[in-house]
């Protein structure tokens, strides 16, 4: 079968691209869920991933714990610390993904700080990640200006390059970033570190419209979404929403409880239900 050409990079199959194509076809919104890998341990991560898949999570974003997570707020810093304490390394995260892949095809993005890839060997990490069943990388501190060869290596491995657009990103940079990204664009809805907010930013609709003027890639909006109501509001102006700290916070609270997985999954399902009922924007 010849490869399907998708934008400027070609690949036989990428689960993220397939998932967004399917959502679009059905007129549904996507739910991207972030958790810290290895919090409280990697077996819990595996079980959560499978349970999330069951309730219709569209993309699982796994944070690889790093000693110095400078883009993260306190909730995710503590998750990284618990991950490190449970002995989680980048290699063990990849091994866990291999185990998840035995029974699940939920699209997986690794949220990772550049030093961890750099140390593993940049190209080797990309190849190992692809082999383990990862579908995309979001390297927090690797902007397009520093990513010479990165996009080519990722395309060769069949992985999506997830780039962030921030509220401080001017329009000419948006144009640059969307040209280099694949899979989806992650719009960070406010200045700041990751974390829950009482109120979501009111500039989201205008900004996603501005990004959309430059690209056909789906847009996922995150940073600060903490309940179904906010999820619904944000989903009205994007193809997908990202929820992280609110879920990580539940894991922090119930990490050692016997019912951790059903509890957290029930919350995730409530987010999914909230956005699936959103009417799609006019085509």
């Amino acid at each position: 079968m010849p490869p399907v050409l998708l934008g400027h990079f070609s690949q036989l199959m990428n689960r993220i691209i397939e998932r967004f194509a399917r959502l679009k076809q059905r007129g549904e919104k996507g739910l991207v869920v972030y958790i810290g890998a290895g919090d409280p341990d990697l077996e819990a991560t595996r079980q959560l991933a499978l349970a999330f898949d069951e309730v219709g999570v569209d993309v699982l974003e796994l944070g690889v714990p790093f000693s110095d997570p400078l883009a993260d707020g306190l909730v995710n810093q503590l998750a990284a610390q618990r991950g490190l304490e449970s002995g989680t390394t980048p290699v063990k995260v990849l091994e866990t993904i291999t185990r998840i892949r035995a029974t699940s095809s939920v699209p997986i993005v690794l949220y990772i700080y550049f030093n961890l890839l750099h140390r593993h060997g940049f190209q080797k990490f990309i190849q190992d990640a692809a082999r383990a069943g990862v579908d995309g990388l979001l390297v927090l501190d690797l902007p397009p200006e520093e990513s010479e060869n990165y996009e080519t290596m990722m395309a060769d491995a069949g992985l999506c390059v997830i780039y962030l657009v921030a509220p401080t990103t001017p329009e000419d940079r948006i144009a640059l970033i969307v040209k280099r990204g694949t899979g989806f664009i992650y719009y960070v809805s406010r200045e700041g570190v990751t974390g829950m907010q009482a109120k979501v930013a009111d500039t989201i609709a205008a900004r996603t419209a501005q990004i959309r003027a430059h690209t056909d890639l789906p847009i996922a909006v995150g940073f600060g979404i903490s309940n179904p109501e906010q999820a619904r509001t944000v989903a009205a102006s994007a193809e997908a929403i990202v929820v992280g700290s609110a879920i990580v916070n539940q894991i922090a609270r119930h990490g050692r409880d016997a019912d951790l997985v059903p509890r957290v999954t029930a919350f995730v399902k409530s987010l999914g239900d909230a956005i699936k009922s959103t009417t799609p924007p006019p085509a």
């Binding site: 200006e145 520093e146 200045e191």
Partner: protein, 404 residues
């Protein structure tokens, strides 16, 4: 030897060969580009330069003396030793050179709030000082362990009206203070300028901080030519992030006869988690915005560090130092806690100067090298700061008692 100092380094993206760059979250990319543009504009603005020179002279007390350390020279019995007296600057360390420069930039950019990280507290005090002077709100991030061991500087910052945030994450020292300052900056970037205190971090900081600190070397070069009518044979400075060292070295880089040594913190010895000598136990990595030598484990997690000196207790080194080391232009060595403490006492007793524990690492290297050099040879050591802040800690280590 090839020409090292050139207008082309760092390159347009802040790279010194394989080092440097700009590895930050997207939210900071455009603010850093704006900062870079404003910095370059200021460099061609005679009004900015006049203002900077005015404050360096009238407020900070520049030029600082290049002082012949006669008794230390005689005691060591070798090379002639000169001290570049940055300890005599207002606030007691070289950090004010950069703080003044950056706050003038912040004003040009219309920022109303200043943040900074600090290790030993000298950069925090310098930043709190210039913020008070220009009436800007100021928040300083400092590791909880450093707040305790440099308590005097915490009070100085508070006295100057700054808010001091004690950072309790990780090992509670300089690296965690930088993380927290970057989190603040990412959140408040529209109103806030981050006065990074060393020649580290994302472009343009390593370039900008070097250029604000090169006044040390420019003066020292002029002064030694006046006093000795020739260039020095050896320059010595301590290296944490590396701002005082690059400030002294930079104007001499194209003088091939001038050798240079950077002294890192050897702590308790070169074993994992016992030191902060990145060129001894470190490897190439990316931390806090730049690519350089860092202390990390096999997975890429940043390792714990130790030094008696809070200002050198840091897991990464400025990218230009990594590059100068590759060029074999600067040698890098280390001094242990014990040797730094010996140097601290020796300079106090022989010269009547109590150096900062950071600078004591450089003095320790003078003590090691000078005796085997000839009396015709000249050493300049950068006395980057004064040691008042360290007296209590040193007294404890040395077992000094209050009179009964």
């Amino acid at each position: 030897m090839s020409v090292i100092a050139s207008e082309t380094l760092p390159d347009a993206n802040g790279h010194f060969g394989p080092y440097g760059g700009r590895y930050v979250p997207e939210t900071l990319m455009h603010p850093l580009q704006e900062l870079e543009q404003e910095y370059f504009r200021s460099q061609h603005d005679p009004e900015f330069q006049r203002e900077l020179e005015y404050y360096l002279r009238e407020f900070c007390g520049r030029p600082t003396p290049l002082y012949f350390a006669e008794r230390l020279t005689r005691e060591l019995g070798g090379a002639k030793i000169y001290l570049k007296r940055e300890d005599l600057l207002h606030t007691g360390a070289h950090k004010i050179n950069n703080a003044i420069g950056q706050i003038l930039l912040a004003k040009r950019m219309g920022k109303t709030r200043i943040i900074a990280e600090t290790g030993a507290g000298q950069h925090g005090v310098a930043t709190a000082t210039v913020s008070a002077m220009f009436g800007l709100q100021c928040v300083i991030y400092m590791g909880a362990v450093d707040c305790e061991r440099q308590a005097l500087n915490v009070f100085r910052m508070k006295m100057l009206g700054a808010e001091v945030v004690s950072v309790k994450a990780g090992q509670k020292t300089l690296k965690e203070a930088v993380n927290e300052a970057m989190r603040d900056w990412v959140t408040n970037v529209r109103s806030t300028h981050y006065i990074l205190g060393t020649a580290y971090g994302a472009h343009p900081y390593p370039l900008m901080v070097r250029n604000f600190q090169r006044v040390i070397g420019d003066e020292a070069r002029r002064q030694i030519l006046e006093q000795e009518e020739r260039l020095p044979d050896l320059l010595i400075a301590c290296v944490g992030g590396g701002s005082n060292a690059i400030g002294l070295f930079y104007p001499f880089l194209n003088d091939p006869a001038v050798r240079m040594v950077g002294v890192e913190a050897g702590g308790l010895g070169i074993e994992p988690e016992k030191h902060a000598a990145r060129f001894q136990g470190g490897s190439l990595g990316v931390l806090q915005g730049t690519r350089s030598y860092i202390l990390q484990d096999e997975s890429g997690q940043i390792q714990l560090t130790h030094s008696v000196s809070a200002g050198l207790d840091y897991a990464a080194v400025g990218p230009e130092h990594a590059w100068l080391r590759d060029q074999s232009r600067v040698d890098y060595t280390y001094a242990t806690d014990d040797r730094a403490l010996e140097a601290f006492v020796k300079l106090a007793r022989l010269e009547g100067i109590i150096p900062a524990l950071e600078s004591s690492h450089a003095v320790a290297e003078v003590i090691r090298r000078a005796p085997s050099m000839s009396p015709e040879e000249l050493i300049i050591v950068n006395l980057s700061g004064r040691g008042d802040k360290d007296v209590e800690q040193a007294a404890r280590k040395l077992g000094l008692q209050m009179p009964a």
